[in-house]
């Protein structure tokens, strides 16, 4: 049970319970549609089923990092803890989704492209570099420092990381100018009705998962900083109380044994 600090006394609320309920229904539905109802692809065969997860997590990892960039800019502008906590929460989920994108993509690539990894592929390498940049962002967030100093450094790294992504993308594109990724099947209109529906269902489920995790992680983050802030305050008060209770000598230094 989380004690009451700040505006939240728990990480769940009516909205998160509703989102959680949607996920409880959505995830089994996605599994059923992905593995049973939807047909296999003519060229990719059963590997197409991985795309119902791979493409949505890739999309939402980019959205999550975008939210981190917006949160970082707004933090530097307004100096609001709300934006800092949002940026942090979104970056954590973004890193998780980005990692999942790389893993599922690699598993999908083995039967489809006959390789686990392709250095010449622009999207692969850009996603990997982006993943590593935000791993660094999260490492910076764990550094012991005052909440304000940490938030400011993280905000600048979050913004620079996002600005760097187009440069990385362009450099990898020029590097090999090749991609094993096919053009978007969605825009080509190559997907059959049930496949398209399953893809949309996957996107919806991953989108709700992102939102659900974001709200919970935001509230945990808020409680963490609140606890840190109150913890410092309590520690200072405790030391001050100790100091007032002591009989200090003329030098201001407690005599030996006085504080026992």
């Amino acid at each position: 049970m989380i004690t009451t600090v700040g505006p939240f006394n728990a990480t769940s609320s009516r909205s998160t319970r509703f989102l959680g309920l949607c996920l409880l229904l959505g995830i089994p539905a996605l599994i059923l549609f992905a593995f049973i109802f939807s047909p296999e692809d003519d060229s990719m065969e059963d590997a197409v089923r991985l795309l119902y997860i791979h493409v949505p997590v890739a999309i939402f990892s980019y959205i999550a990092f975008g939210v981190t960039a917006v949160g970082s800019i707004c933090y530097l502008w307004k100096r609001s803890r709300w934006w800092d906590t949002t940026a942090h929460a979104s970056a954590e989920i973004g890193v998780m989704f980005c990692g999942l994108t790389l893993v599922t993509g690699s598993i999908w690539g083995r039967p489809t492209w006959n390789t686990w990894w392709e250095w010449g592929d622009v999207r692969l390498v850009t996603t990997l570099v982006m993943f590593l940049m935000f791993i660094g962002y999260l490492a910076l967030r764990q550094v012991p420092a005052s909440p304000e100093a940490r938030a400011k450094r993280a905000a600048i790294v979050g913004i620079i990381g996002t600005i760097n992504i187009p440069i990385v993308n362009r450099s990898v594109e020029w590097w090999e100018n090749s991609t094993l990724h096919q053009q978007s099947s969605l825009t080509d209109g190559n997907l059959e009705n049930l496949t398209l529906f399953t893809w949309f269902l996957g996107t919806l489920v991953i989108g709700i998962t992102y939102l659900w995790l974001l709200i919970h992680r935001f509230r945990v983050g808020w409680l963490e900083t609140e606890e840190e802030r109150l913890g410092y305050g309590a520690a200072i008060e405790e030391r001050q109380a100790e100091a007032h209770g002591l009989d200090v000598g003329s030098t201001g230094i407690p005599e030996e044994g006085e504080n026992e």
């Binding site: 570099v129 940049m133 005052s146 100093a149 450094r153 440069i167 450099s171």
Partner: protein, 222 residues
Amino acid sequence: MLADSWLIARKDLQVEIRSRIIINQIAPYTLLIMVLFGFALDANTQTLRDTAPGLYWVAILLVALLAIQRGVQIEDADAARDRMLLTPVSSSSIFLGKSLALFVQLLVLEVLLFFVMMVLFDTSVEDPLLVCLSAFVATVGIATSGTLYGVIASGVGVRETLLPILLLPVLAPVAIGATRTFGDAFGRVNADGWAWFGLLVVFAVVYTVLGMFSYGQLLEEE
């Protein structure tokens, strides 16, 4: 502003000239890295010749980390940064000055390493102008981004491990771009070296501007 930047750069360079850390420790370390590459690639001269541009820039990025850490360490010691902030010098000038000092140190290391590479890896240059200009611009990019990330990682106990995690992914475009320009200039790869040179210029300009605007924000919190 430029006069102030030069003052800051001169201060950092004087500290380095007196301590001789770059020449006595970091330069031999660079040489050691190149020798290790030779061991790792099985003393195959043809392979070393083909991969020389990439190995050269990997070595430069590794020693750049050491040089950046060294610059941050100087400012962390004895609250030197706080005292520098008390001077009537703008944060942009401090950023440019520190970047310039790092740039000069890296350039010295690059020249040394270049001749080591020519001898050990038996390389030859077909386009010296492209080599000089791309090395110059890539070093500006490394120095400006390194100075910026150096201050982000400063003042924390885990600076040595944090800085590489933060900086190396950011420097990916420099690693790719500088390797390609050198590859083209050495006649080893079929790439448009001047297009890559343009990308290195963009990187250097972006990080110089970003640094000038955000360095003050990071210094204020110290």
